[in-house]
């Protein structure tokens, strides 16, 4: 065994020497690439299993089985789907704009992945701890609509075009309600940095989470998130019974797969952001409970964020299995005539709370 430990120590020394010899810039990029992989690879796995659980859970709700053949209880189903998608022909319609048609799924995927740079996973782990984090998140999530518009336009198909128009109008309408809800979060948090927003919710117990003083904004934000990602019951953009599949009707194989990954990554992002803004991100719900102090249950960790995200992810599936689809005019009415007035009123309420130093503003303004 001596020669083995000797060889390992030798290799370690050599690797350390190689690492030290690298220019600082290269070391920075390598560390960063590693961090990105630490986020992106689990994200891809999460997307894969989100699709699996979607089919299983909706199956159970509808009193059927869902996929249970590939691997034990169907756990390999997402990988079977991926392999199938890779080997399917990518059909580019004859009168489509070939370049834009192939560009659209990539344009949809880039923001869906890159937003995660600013999302804090735990007290210490975030890829880019930027002070304008929330602006970055908003900017990139708005970019997602370009992929949809490009796809609908480049396909040169009526269903795709109609789907893209509906989808774009719906996304921008709900983005305003979302933006106003975030203004409320900012008033309470006092910072654009997502980590600082979570730290502002740190306190004696669960009661210091923004969920309580901002409860209407929490509801508006999460429901707008469901509408932003074009999920049921707001999925008119791909309503099967009206416009077949909406903006990605002409896409097959991996082109469709990329849109799919982008949609699910965006859904997981909405759950992470809802947890971060309103439910204290990585903070433990049991902090401050007598008898649990100093145990892992009360300690902040990534596990708590994951648990909150899992709950909201389940809500996405639950909604889909429970609610019938909204009509398009009802969707627009809900966005413009219900959510925007609610958020404006609540911003005014928060202003009054701040003036009288209630709730998160108890320290005084």
């Amino acid at each position: 065994m001596d020669w083995l430990t000797g060889m390992l120590a030798d290799t370690e020394l050599r690797l350390t020497a190689v690492w030290a010899a690298l220019p600082e810039f290269v070391r920075f990029v390598l560390v960063d690439l590693f961090k990105i992989l630490v986020v992106v690879v689990p994200l891809f796995i999460a997307v894969a299993y989100f699709t699996y659980w979607e089919r299983r859970i909706i199956g159970w709700i509808q009193n059927r089985l869902g996929p249970n053949r590939v691997g034990w209880e169907g756990v390999l189903q997402p990988f079977a789907d991926l392999i199938k998608m890779l080997f399917k022909q990518v059909i580019v319609p004859g009168n489509a704009n070939r370049f834009l048609f192939l560009l659209a799924p990539i344009v949809a995927l880039i923001p869906a992945l890159a937003v995660w740079a600013a999302v804090p996973m735990s007290e210490s782990f975030v890829i880019a701890d930027i002070n304008a984090g929330l602006l970055y998140v908003l900017a990139l999530t708005s970019m997602g609509v370009y992929g949809v518009i490009l796809a609908g336009w480049a396909s040169n198909s009526k269903y795709a075009f109609l789907g893209a128009m509906r989808c774009a109008a719906q996304i921008v309408a709900y983005e305003i309600a979302m933006g106003f809800a975030l203004v409320g979060v900012l008033m309470a948090g006092g910072s654009l940095n997502l980590g600082d927003i979570v730290r502002a919710q740190e306190g004696t117990s669960v009661l210091s989470w923004f969920l309580w003083p901002l409860f209407p904004l929490f509801l508006v934000y999460f429901i707008s998130g469901v509408a932003e990602t074009n999920r049921s019951p707001f999925d008119v953009a791909e309503g099967e019974s009206e416009i077949v599949a909406g903006f990605h009707v002409e896409y097959g194989g991996i082109g469709f797969g990329l849109f799919f990954v982008a949609e699910y990554a965006n859904m997981i992002l909405i759950t992470a952001l809802t947890a971060t803004f309103f439910l204290g991100g990585w903070l433990s719900p049991f902090a401050g409970v007598p008898g649990l102090a100093e145990t892992w249950i009360a300690a902040p960790s990534f596990g708590w964020l994951a648990a909150k995200m899992a709950f909201f992810s389940f809500c996405f599936l639950w909604f889909r299995a429970t609610f019938p689809r909204y009509r398009y005019d009802q969707i627009m009415r809900l966005g413009w005539k219900v959510f925007i007035p609610i958020t404006i009123v609540w911003i005014a309420v928060e202003g009054v709370m701040a003036a009288f130093e209630i709730g998160p503003w108890a320290a005084g303004i």
Binding site: K35, Y136, S157, K158, M165, F180, L186, I254, M332, I365
Partner: protein, 118 residues
Amino acid sequence: MLATYAPVLIFLLVAAGFGVVLLALGLALGRGSRDPQKLSPYECGFEAFEDSRMRFDVRYYLVAILFIIFDLEIAFLFPWAVSLDRIGLFGLVAMGIFLAVLVVGFVYEWRKGALEWD
């Protein structure tokens, strides 16, 4: 400053790389015939009647215009909300007046029927 934003740039490039590689793999692996019927746009089995870049409802355009107005207002609210603890009562009252003007505009749009969709 640059060091904190550099990871964002790298992440954007990595994300683009993922997209390009997956799409290239799909194009390389997925083989099949390409006859004109298969490449025609999907229209429930019919031949395409007319060009699909048709006229569309003007209300989509209206939604886009309203979106720009409201989005700018949100962008204007952000710095105010972040500095709420430093601007005091004066800042609150000033924003109250601004929001009141905004609400007047919103009510006008509502009464004019710009938000109707049926």
